[in-house]
Structures are given as C-alpha cells and as structure tokens.
Symmetry: C2
Subunit: 325 residues, 2 copies
Amino acid sequence: MTGTNQVLVCGGAGFVGVNLVRVLLSRGTRVCVADNFSRGSRANLREFEADPRFSVCEVDLADPSQVSDLVGQLSKSRPLDEVWHLAANSDIPAGIANPNIDLKDTFLTTVSLVNALRSVGTRTVYFASSSAFYGDLGDIELREHTGPLLPISNYGAMKLASEAFLSAAAESHLEQVMIFRFPNVVGVPATHGVLLDFARKLRKDRSHLEVLGNGTQRKGYLHVSDLVTAMLHLHDTVTEKRAVFNIGAVDAGVSVRQIAEGMVALVAPDARLEFGNSNRGWVGDVPKFHYSVDKLLATGWRPVLDSQSAMTRAMHEVARQEGLL
Amino acid sequence: MTGTNQVLVCGGAGFVGVNLVRVLLSRGTRVCVADNFSRGSRANLREFEADPRFSVCEVDLADPSQVSDLVGQLSKSRPLDEVWHLAANSDIPAGIANPNIDLKDTFLTTVSLVNALRSVGTRTVYFASSSAFYGDLGDIELREHTGPLLPISNYGAMKLASEAFLSAAAESHLEQVMIFRFPNVVGVPATHGVLLDFARKLRKDRSHLEVLGNGTQRKGYLHVSDLVTAMLHLHDTVTEKRAVFNIGAVDAGVSVRQIAEGMVALVAPDARLEFGNSNRGWVGDVPKFHYSVDKLLATGWRPVLDSQSAMTRAMHEVARQEGLL
C-alpha cells in the first residue's frame, strides 16, 4: 500500500465495493468510485461524502469513451496507481434470461477499463472474479488451476472472459493483474442473495417462507469483512505478474435449510418453511462445491468468522437493513 | 452425420473452413458459408460454386442483426441442424496491437451467433478454439482440463471467452457444444502462419530469409486434412453435451529452423538464413509446449501425417500457392 496515492474502485457503490472503499479510505488512500448505480446505490456511499479523499463518478463502465474520459480526468492531477474492478451484473438468473446483460456489465466493462488504462499508464488491476467461474465440476476440488472451465451461467462465463482479457493485457501494457475468485459473500449493504431474498419474502408475508430448491444445497459463506481483509492482505503481500486466488470459507458451510430456519427464527418464528424439489435453486446455480483456499491460507490469511458465524452476523445485518429488526 | 441436412459454416471462406466445407459437401450435406471475407476470400470458394447444395453469404458475424437475419433465412425452408463456428481474427500480433480486433471478430461473433440460434431452434454448435487458449504454462502437459488459463494474447483470451459463452449456452438453449482446440495447422489456402511468411519473404527477395526469433521454437504441426478428419470423426462419434478436445500432432514437432531450412531448400537454395535472438517470435507467441491429444487418440483417431510430413507437404502447397514452384 505504501506509495499508493489514488485508486479507482469500479462498482464501488455495490455490496463488496462499499466495504472495500471504507477500508481503503481508512488506510489513507484517495478513492474514486465509478458506478452505473444499476445495483449499487448512492445511499451506500453517503458515509464517505465528508471525506476529502473520496469522490464518485456515475459512469457506464461498458462505454469506452466514458471510461476513457474518467481515467483521463483522474490522472490529470496525480497518478492513478491502481484500479479495483468490482463492477458486474450480480443477478445471475437475469443474465441467463438475457445474455447481453453479463456481456455488457460483466465483460465489456473489463474491456473498456483495461483499454482505457493503456493511455494513462496505470499498470495494476485488482479484479473481482467469481467461484461461478468453475461451472459445475461435481465433486472435484476447485483449485486455482482446476479445469476444464465450462461455466454454466453467463455470469460465470463473462467472469472467465474478463480474467482471460486481463491475462492477455498483462502480456502487453499491464504490469500486475491480481484476480480474486469470490465465494458466496454475506453482509451489508445486501443487494442480492439468499438472505435478502428470505428477508424480503418475510417482510411481505410473515406466515411462510418459500425456499427455491429442496434446502439441501450446502455452501461455504464468507463475511464481507473477511473478504476485504483477504483482498488487502493479498494486495499488500503478493507481487506475481498474474496472480489468481480463490477466496472463501475454510469450513464445510451451511445448508439453505439452516439459513432459512435461522432467518425465520430471527424475524418470523411462526413462519412455515416451504421447500421445492430440486437440489438446484435456479438454472446456473451450482448445488455444492469443494472450493480450495489452500493457496490463500498459505499466504497466512485466516477468516475471522466461519460460515455459520458469518451467516448469523449477516442475518442480523440484513434483517436490520430490511427493517425487520 | 445421419440426418444432418443443412449446416452453416461461419468463417467458411478461411483456411480451415474451405477444407471443412469440401468434406461436408462430399458427405452430401447442404452447406451455407458465412464469412466477412476479411481474411477468407471468395476465390477460396470458387470450387464449390457449381454445387447446388452450396451457398454463401457475406455477413459481419459480430453484428447481431445480420446474423439473426441469416439464420432466420436459412431456417425458413429446412431446419438448420448445426453450426460450425470457425470465424475469428487469425492475426495474433494484430490482435495484440489492437484488442478490439479479437474482441469483435473472435468473441462477439460467438455471442451474436449463439444468441441468434436461440430463436431458430438450432441446438448444436461445433467451435474452433485454439491451443493459444492455454497461454504459456511452461513445461506442463496441456490436457483439456489443464489450468490455470491465463492466455497471453487477445486471440487466446477471446477463444477462451467464446468457449465460456458456449458452455453457459449449453445450460440454456443449446443441446450440444463441441469445442476443438486447434493446434498449429498447415496447408492451403494459407492466409497466415510461418510458411506463408517465409514464402512471401522469399518471393520478394531470394537472397536471404529473416526468421523471427532464434529458430529453436519447436512445435507440432497438423496438416489441415488431418484436422478436418479429426473434427468429423469427433462430430460423428461423440455425444457429450459439452465436449472439449485438443487436436494436434502426436510427435515432438519440428523447429522453426527446420522449417526455414526446408523452405529455403525448396524455393531458394542460395538464400542466407538470418535468425533473431529471442526464443519467442513475437509478443503472444508461445515458444514450445506439450500438447496432449490423448483424449482424442482414445477415440480411435490417428493423424495420417506426422509434423515433418505435414510440414513438407504444406511447404510444397504454400510455395505453389505463392507462385514459387
């Protein structure tokens, strides 16, 4: 971090972005957030407004000229040292119904951004990829080098495409590309995900909770605070030209049933749980997977919260966000 | 192949396309070639013009409306049973200088095509991917599941992106996606590659031949006739929903020096060879690699020509094409 003066956080008004920006500012970094505010919101950024090192720019990151203008503007007074690219469509089912959503918001944002950096001399990109990247490989342990990579959602496909584009750029004008493959992350401000889904259903009707799938899907969850700590730990310690890290929980995870039961117990103890029949929640959902974070653990990082604790904390946070507590 | 009535070959006027179309027509299939004629040429298709089962359409495959019109038109009178997608930028160095070339011609062609197929009910796509896909993994043996996938050229990156997009589509509206990772292929009509480069340099000046790199790069080469045989063999025998096959030579390959010496001996015996210093020819070139075709061999296919024989035959073909013999 030493010497890092100014960074751009793309998608900085979204769930992970806001949590990252908070920590970056606390470390003394000058931060510009670029967001199209399709999922992220200005309200999420209100806490930073008084900070003179914070700025925000509404921009369609898939539009090459808008991105080019933005990075040109930022580079005028001081170098733009690095970019954190977290912008993406985060609604996987929407991206399956309409593949152009992920094409534009998940992939073409990466293309426009990387191409724009060429002219201003920014050489370092941190990229939020996804475990959806791996598709459904069954019981294989998912390590950073695992393949074949046959994603089952456009979201996963366009994250893979973005990684590939960044990797090629590291051969030409970028000097360092660090790729974080995100796990299932929980916390606030929640914009999507199982907890928000449950909270909103229960806010509408506290008598029952309908669960997509049969509830047996078990996944590891990481609290967003641990995710941000992991990213900054890697940022500070890893110097490889192209570095890829799975980030995730280190335990066996929790089932959808446990999450549903926990949320109901917290905000609507009398609600009836109604499960579906499939072990998949929706097309593109991967029922369970073994996600190796050995490479990350070898760097010395450990999560503070396990899946169950992360979920419990996030349940309270999301319930509060949705006015249920 | 039984029951295959009509197929679309995208990029059918290019090097591999022409060779594929010739065999498809000989098998009795109705073939429409779609090409933007940026690299492929109408002259390459002249031999098919008299065949009533052959048609050709000039189209920018990256343009969704043009592709949609084309497949709609083709589907009017009879079903469009399958699509062979071979269209791509094939000039790797050009794609590194300008990443938008591969974005558009190698990746967005795939997107437009796959999206267009949704409405006409075509469920089967054969896709020409590339060994460039794997990037530079050093001495690791490259199998279909090998990773991490960190391409070093935009061409490789956009092939990877295309594979990912196809894979996701196989979860929604496609029923079968077969991916062929092409090796170094030689033969005619040559539009790019080391043989054409040497032939053109020698046509201009028979006194010397400048070789990019130090000549030690050794690669396996497949003759295009063997490539087409391999693809059709897989087409006829493999039924997996998502199938990925490396296709390539089964021997240790030949060095650039051997190729240069062979070409000089054939067309300009007095030419002086001039080598560079690097073991890479250009940015994005992978010096040597171990490309496993075990999965393909397990299906019973064998190449007729080894690397040296493929190269010798192609040398004559390219020299003849360029008017040097």
